[in-house]
């Protein structure tokens, strides 16, 4: 099917297409003018414009032109190549051409969207870039994708609801899964919730049914207390190294150790509201049920078990796996306000929403009256957007210098859901809800707000730059704390609300995963969450092939969205690994044996094992050394290209000659 011949530059018949991108490009760039200029080029057989080249109709035009006009090269100016280069390679292949006879020019992100203030300049730039594209297209050679065996084995990092869902879905497609969880127990943050919106179900019950499916699945292996420590390779063939810590206790001595342990530390499962032992279970019913030693806090002193003094030892082990694809589901952590912010960590009556949920969970049934630290609670204030939607110049950046300017999305609904549940149980409590905007997004989630209103929650609206203040009430006051602020529902009226408890609806921040980011070379966004290639078109993929994202590691999400993302990530992994082989772009070094003199300069600068070697061959009756590339080992970096004194090596598809031709085109003055 694909054309293998490589016409000389002067014989190329190029089809050029310039996309309006529904106005995204054409609102700034004079797209018709660009096409008109392209028609002047001697190698251009046809130049067309279209409202949307990526649409079925747009692609059909290209396919038909290839067939009917005998095009042997295609250049399309459209959105970023990261979005549709792949799409258009498919188009070109369907037209009957080798897919690498296509060049994509980015005219949206790198032209119309950045030059809206200068349409003339943007049009001229589009012409220049398109000419450069044509110059490259003239020199393109047919290439075949490199086919490599892919390990039908996925690694899922993180055992929260997203990681669990992804693992289960991948295994459901017949692919082996190794799931690693850093802590001793599965479940992540969902295990710390009680009833959850929108179902009203108990979070741990739902979680446990998923954990049960995962732990009994024959294709899933779970390693708790485990982390990725090294990674090499590429999609289909990642060599990963995992380090596991031991639980410290096992079998017979586990329960005895738990009973005998006396060292206590703040319980992170309850966000420090209670204490737990250093030999612990996260909560009753957790999985695995075997307790574990908290190595971070264990003081190393012996514990007396059945008359014997036992010192726990953390026997770490590392093991290697070959993995085809990786799902990162490392989750989030609730924002922790700095000491003193809204009285947090200074006034005992100020809690975060996650702490409040734990407090509710820790109660022993319905005790008739809600209490906080032994005092009855009759008036509560909830304050939204704590740690979210910060404004430059108003709020302090985080210690890393980054401002939390994003909306954490989940907190509005989570807060109102908790408030509604609370009022079902304690209808006499008064709730004052201080908000900036109520964002209970999602199908019918507006009902959380209307229900709260019906339950007589008093809403008070603040401005982002005038957030409420929480102060201790004067001695002898009826309530321990006062929430002061301006209410813009009543024209900025100054209010002072005495309450027994303040709940801070804190936002979400990603868990620190810089080690993974560095190892895998995946990008983070401005907000520190892991970044996908494209929020709409490639929403779970990272730019690193074979590494995908699931859940709140990527952005604030509720459980449903985390599971949706996890299922999407699993589908992506399944597509990649189902065939047991992956196809890689053929962008690897290629030696021109006519020019190679066997100097070995390429090997000296190559950092990839066995990517290039010198082999003995016979040329004109003489035994000579020549460079030979093993494509599977070559990264296509091009170190060798600049090193070769004879210009005998190039990266296929990205040749120096392509760049020289593009520079020629760019330096040509164009008249518009």
């Amino acid at each position: 099917m694909t054309e293998k011949t490589n016409p000389k530059p002067e014989e190329t018949k190029i089809g050029v297409y310039v996309c309006y991108c529904g106005g995204n490009i054409s609102d700034v760039v004079d797209v018709e003018k660009v096409a008109e200029k392209m028609r002047e080029h001697p190698n251009v057989t046809i130049a067309r414009t279209d409202m949307s080249m990526c649409s079925d109709a747009g692609q059909s035009i290209v396919e038909n032109d290839i067939k009917e006009l005998g095009l042997n090269r295609v250049v399309i100016g459209a959105c970023a190549p990261s979005l549709h280069e792949h799409t258009f390679r498919g188009t070109v292949a369907r037209g009957g051409l080798n897919p690498y006879f296509f060049h994509h020019v980015g005219l949206r992100e790198q032209d119309s969207w950045v030059h809206s203030n200068n349409p003339g300049g943007a049009t001229e730039k589009a012409i220049r870039l398109m000419y450069a594209g044509i110059a490259k297209a003239n020199l393109l050679k047919p290439l075949d994708m490199i086919k490599l065996k892919a390990e039908r084995h996925a690694l899922v990092i993180g055992g929260g609801v997203a990681g669990l869902r992804a693992a289960y879905d991948i295994a459901g497609r017949g692919i082996n899964v190794t799931l690693i969880e850093k802590t001793p127990f599965l479940g992540g943050r969902m295990a710390q919730l009680e009833t959850v919106f929108p179902t009203g179900n108990n979070a741990r019950e739902d979680l446990h049914s998923l954990i049960n499916e995962v732990r009994t699945h024959p294709l899933i292996t779970i390693h708790t207390l485990s982390e990725l420590v090294n990674i090499r390779g590429y999609i289909g063939n990642y060599d990963v190294q995992i380090r596991s810590q031991s639980r410290g206790v096992s079998g017979d001595n586990a329960e005895a150790a738990l009973a005998a342990c006396t060292q206590e530390v703040p319980d992170d499962f309850n966000y420090g509201l209670t204490k737990r032992k250093v030999v612990y279970r996260a909560y009753e019913g957790c999985f695995p049920s075997t307790p574990a030693v908290d190595w971070e806090h264990y003081d190393g002193k012996p514990i007396e078990i059945d008359g014997q003094k036992v010192i726990f030892e953390n026997k770490k082990k590392t093991f290697d796996l070959r993995i085809g694809a990786i799902v990162i589901a490392t989750g989030f952590q609730p924002y922790e306000p700095p000491r003193g912010d809204y009285g947090y960590d200074e006034l005992p009556e100020v809690v975060t929403l996650p702490q409040f949920i734990r407090h509710m969970g820790l109660r022993d049934g319905n005790v008739g009256e809600l209490t906080w630290k032994g005092h009855p609670v009759r008036d509560i204030a909830a304050i939204h957007c704590v740690g979210s939607r910060h404004l430059a110049g108003v709020h302090e950046p985080q210690p890393d210098g980054i401002l939390n300017n994003y909306c954490s999305r989940v907190c509005c609904t989570a807060t109102l859901h908790q408030v509604n549940e609370l009022l079902d149980e304690y209808p006499n409590i008064n709730v004052y809800d201080f908000y900036e905007d109520i964002r209970t997004y999602g199908l019918e989630h507006e009902s959380y707000y209307t229900e709260a209103s019906k339950k007589m929650v008093r809403f008070l609206r603040f401005h982002g730059d005038q957030r409420p203040e929480v102060v201790a009430a004067p001695e002898g006051d009826t309530h321990p704390v006062l929430v002061k602020g301006k209410d813009y529902l009543t024209n900025g009226l100054e209010v002072e609300v005495p309450v027994d408890l303040v709940i801070l609806a804190v936002g979400m921040v990603p868990r620190p995963v810089d080690d993974l980011v560095d190892m895998m070379k995946i990008p983070k966004g401005d907000d520190r969450f892991l970044l996908e290639v494209h929020p709409k078109l490639r929403p779970v993929e990272t730019p690193v092939p074979g590494i995908v994202l699931a859940g709140t590691a990527q952005s604030p999400m509720n459980i449903q969205e985390s599971c949706n993302a996890a299922s999407a990530a699993a589908a992506k992994v399944a597509v990649l690994l189902a065939a047991g082989q992956v196809e890689l772009d053929p962008y690897v070094a290629n030696v021109d044996l006519d020019k190679c003199e066997g100097t070995g300069a390429c090997i000296e600068v190559c950092e990839y094992e066995d990517a290039i070697v010198l082999e003995t061959m016979t040329v004109e009756g003489k035994e000579v050394q020549r460079a030979v590339v093993t494509p599977a080992n070559c990264s296509g970096c091009g170190n060798c290209v600049s090193a070769c004194p004879h210009h005998a090596i190039d990266v296929q598809g990205w040749e120096v000659a392509h760049y020289e031709a593009m520079v020629d085109a760019i330096t040509m003055e164009v008249e518009i």
Partner: protein
């Protein structure tokens, strides 16, 4: 393809890595931030492929400034950033010999979300070129000197 010399503006070539500067430039676009149109951004896998000869030829053809936006420590290619730095360094020497102002070539690590550093590099190169003028004038002056 009429050749004209009407609006003469310095030409800036940006060699931007797919894992760094090119994605960074896309990000600048997604944010709809403006910069000058005299920029031509070419995607590269790793600029370690470019020899001194390539850069010099580009200047001789009339590129007034080149910004190599590589991925620095974010590069997916082992040894790529180091070799890029070596090649740029060698090029500086050659530029010195040929009387090409070395400010015309800049190596900058730009990440996928580095919108401010991206704009800073483009603006600074424009300022530099406004100060030092066109490369071809510089090369012509060199010719006269000989």
């Amino acid at each position: 393809m009429n050749e004209t010399t009407t609006t003469k503006e310095p030409k800036i070539l940006i060699l931007a890595t797919l894992s760094g500067g090119y994605a960074g430039a896309d990000y600048v676009g997604q944010q709809h931030l403006n910069y000058s149109t005299n920029t031509s951004i070419l995607p590269v896998r790793c600029p370690s492929m470019f020899s001194t000869e390539f850069y010099i030829k580009a200047f001789e053809k009339g590129i007034d400034g080149i910004i190599v936006m590589y991925s620095g420590t974010d590069s997916p290619f082992k040894g790529g950033p180091e070799r890029t730095a070596v090649m740029v360094d060698q090029t500086y020497k050659k530029m010195g010999e040929l009387g090409i102002n070395i400010k015309r070539l800049k190596l900058a690590a730009i990440c996928t979300v580095c919108k401010k550093p991206f704009l800073k590099q483009v603006n600074e190169m424009n300022e530099t070129l406004n100060e030092i003028g066109f490369v071809q004038d510089e090369l012509a002056d060199q010719g006269k000197d000989k």
